[in-house]
C-alpha cells in the first residue's frame, strides 16, 4: 500500500514541476487550474494542506444551484465552485478535492473533529455556530422569501400573512426557525420535511399554501415551472453564507477571505456564479463585507 502511494505521487510531482517550469501564470483565470507553486509560511494550515496535496470539503449534495450531486456523481453548484477556487489557490487541483456530504446536522461535528478542512454548504453564519467553528466569508447573502402557487390564490403578501395557512419548509433549517420564532407560526401551520423538493410537490398539489426558504432555492423552482409557482420577491431576512473552518485557524480564514477578494477582482467569482446560481438569479452579487476572522 505504501509503495503504491509513493508511485502515485510521481506523476503528481512531475505535474507540479512541469507547471512550475511554465512560470507562475498569475493571469490565469481558469478556476480549475491550481496555482503553480504557492508558498506558505511553515506551520500554517495552508502549508499543511499543500503538503498533504489534498483538500476535504463538506458540502450539500441536495441543494440545487449550490451543491447538488446529480447523475454525474460529482456535486455541482456555487458552493462547489467556491471550494474549487480556494483549492486552486492552495495549489490543489480539482481531482484532489474530496467532497463529503454535509447535511445541516453534521457540519459542526465534521469541523470539530477535523473530518473536513472546510465546509461550504449554504452555511449561514450565526453567533451560536461561531462559538465552536470559525467562518471565512461570507461569499453570498441570500434572503428568505416565500413561494406560492401561480396567481397567489391565498393572497399571501409576506411572512406576517402566513398565520392560519399551511407553510412548508425543511426541518431544522434557519428559514423554518425564522417563521416560527419571528412570525409565530405554530407546528400545525408550519409543516416540515427533509428536502425542499417535497415542499414544492406539496405546493403543486395544493396540500400546502406556501413554501419558505432562501430566495435562491425558490427561484430554481420558479424557473423549472413558471406556470405553477410564483415568488413573492420580497426577501425578509439576511442569510450570509460563510465558509466554515475549524476554530483557531485565523490565518487560514484570512487567506480564504483574500482568495474571495481576488476572485472578484479577476472575474473568477462572477464566472463561478454565472455557471451555477446565476442561471436563475440574473445579477451577480457583490461580495459581502467579510465577517471577520478574529471572532
Amino acid at each position: 500500500m505504501r509503495s503504491l502511494r509513493l508511485i502515485s505521487l510521481i506523476p503528481a510531482t512531475a505535474l507540479v514541476l512541469s507547471l512550475a517550469a511554465c512560470g507562475g501564470d498569475d493571469n490565469d483565470k481558469n478556476v480549475t487550474t491550481p496555482v503553480a507553486k504557492p508558498s506558505f509560511a511553515a506551520g500554517t494550515r495552508m502549508a499543511d494542506i499543500l503538503a498533504a496535496g489534498k483538500l476535504t470539503v463538506g458540502t450539500k449534495f441536495d441543494q440545487p444551484l449550490f451543491g447538488l450531486k446529480g447523475l454525474s456523481g460529482k456535486p455541482e453548484g456555487f458552493d462547489v465552485e467556491i471550494a474549487k477556487l480556494i483549492a486552486a489557490k492552495l495549489g490543489i487541483s480539482e481531482d484532489k478535492i474530496t467532497f463529503v456530504e454535509s447535511v445541516s446536522a453534521n457540519r459542526e461535528p465534521f469541523l470539530q473533529q477535523k473530518k473536513v478542512d472546510m465546509v461550504v454548504a449554504t452555511y449561514t453564519i450565526n453567533d451560536k455556530r461561531d462559538k465552536i467553528v470559525d467562518f471565512a466569508g461570507p461569499y453570498f447573502v441570500a434572503g428568505q422569501d416565500i413561494l406560492v402557487a401561480k396567481g397567489n390564490p391565498k393572497g399571501i403578501t409576506g411572512p406576517e400573512t402566513l398565520k392560519g395557512k399551511k407553510t412548508c419548509s425543511v426541518s431544522g433549517s434557519t428559514p423554518a426557525a425564522t417563521v416560527q420564532e419571528k412570525y409565530g407560526l405554530s407546528t400545525s401551520e408550519l409543516l416540515l420535511v427533509d428536502a425542499y423538493s417535497k415542499c414544492r410537490d406539496a405546493l403543486a398539489n395544493g396540500q400546502v399554501d406556501a413554501v419558505t426558504t432562501d430566495n435562491v432555492i425558490l427561484s430554481g423552482y420558479v424557473s423549472e415551472a413558471p406556470d405553477k409557482f410564483e415568488l413573492l420577491g420580497k426577501p425578509f431576512s439576511q442569510e450570509p453564507y460563510g465558509i466554515g473552518i475549524p476554530e483557531g485557524q485565523e490565518p487560514f480564514c484570512d487567506f480564504i477571505n483574500k482568495v474571495l477578494k481576488d476572485a472578484v477582482a479577476d472575474g473568477s467569482y462572477e464566472k463561478a456564479f454565472k455557471a451555477t446560481a446565476g442561471k436563475v438569479i440574473q445579477t451577480t452579487p457583490t461580495l459581502p463585507e467579510p465577517h471577520g476572522c478574529d471572532k
Binding site: 445541516s104 457540519r107 451560536k128 412548508c168 431544522g172 408550519l190
Partner: protein, 215 residues
C-alpha cells in the same frame, strides 16, 4: 447539556406526537393485521390469496416508499388528509403486514383440536376464531408483537421527513438553533426513543404476565 434542558419543551412536544403516532398506528395495524391474518387462514381461497399478497407486497416495501405513496400518491386521486393522518395511515399499512405474520404464527400455534372441537359443537368460522382461536393466539404472540410495536415506535421517525413534527423534527429544530451542542442534542433524542421503547417493553412484559396468569 444546558441546551437540551433549556429546550426540553420542544423535545416533549415532539415526542408527544411520536407517542400518539405510535399508539394510533399500533391500533390501526393491530386491527388491519388481525384482519389479514384471518383472511390468510380463512376457508375462502381468494381471501387467502389476497391476505398473502398483502403481506408479500407491503412487508417487502421500504417504509419510506410506503410514505411516499400515501402522502404524495393519495392526493393524486383526490384523497387529501392532514399529514398526521397520512402518517398514521402509512405506518398502519406497513406495520399491519408484520402484525399479520405474528398473528398468523399465533393462530398456527393453537392446536387444531381446538378449532375442530368448536366446529363440532356447532360454532361458525367467525365464532371459532373470535371465541376460541384468537384469544389463545394473542396470548402466545405478546413477545413478537412487542418487537413489532417497538419497531413501529422507531419507525415513526420516518414521519419527520413527511410533514409531521415529531421526535426527530424537534431534534432537527434544536440542532439548527444550537450549532454548538449538536451531539448532546442527538444523544438526548436517542435517549428519548430509548426511554419510550423501554417503557413499552415494560408494559408488554406486564401484559405477558397477565395473559400467562390467565391460563
Amino acid at each position: 447539556m444546558n441546551d437540551v434542558l433549556d429546550n426540553l419543551d420542544v423535545f416533549v412536544k415532539g415526542f408527544r406526537t411520536t407517542v400518539s403516532l405510535t399508539l394510533l398506528a399500533a391500533i390501526g395495524a393491530l386491527l388491519l393485521g388481525t384482519l389479514i391474518a384471518t383472511m390468510r387462514v380463512s376457508p375462502v381461497p381468494p381471501l387467502r390469496w389476497a391476505g398473502a399478497a398483502y403481506v408479500r407486497l407491503v412487508r417487502n416495501t421500504p417504509l419510506t416508499v410506503v410514505f411516499f405513496l400515501v402522502v404524495f400518491g393519495l392526493p393524486e386521486v383526490d384523497v387529501k388528509l392532514p399529514f398526521f393522518r397520512f402518517a398514521v395511515l402509512a405506518l398502519s399499512i406497513y406495520t399491519a403486514s408484520f402484525v399479520a405474520e405474528a398473528v398468523r404464527s399465533g393462530i398456527n400455534s393453537v392446536p387444531p383440536g381446538q378449532a375442530e372441537a368448536s366446529r363440532s359443537i356447532g360454532m361458525t368460522f367467525g365464532q371459532t376464531l373470535r371465541l376460541v382461536v384468537l384469544p389463545q393466539a394473542f396470548a402466545n404472540i405478546v413477545p413478537p408483537l412487542a418487537s413489532v410495536f417497538i419497531a413501529l415506535l422507531k419507525n415513526t421517525s420516518i414521519a419527520s421527513a413527511f410533514f409531521v413534527f415529531e421526535g426527530v423534527q424537534s431534534m432537527n429544530q434544536l440542532i439548527n438553533a444550537h450549532g454548538n451542542a449538536v451531539l448532546s442534542i442527538i444523544a438526548a433524542a436517542a435517549l428519548g426513543y430509548l426511554v419510550l421503547a423501554l417503557v413499552s417493553a415494560f408494559l408488554f412484559s406486564l401484559l405477558e404476565r397477565a395473559v400467562s396468569a390467565g391460563r
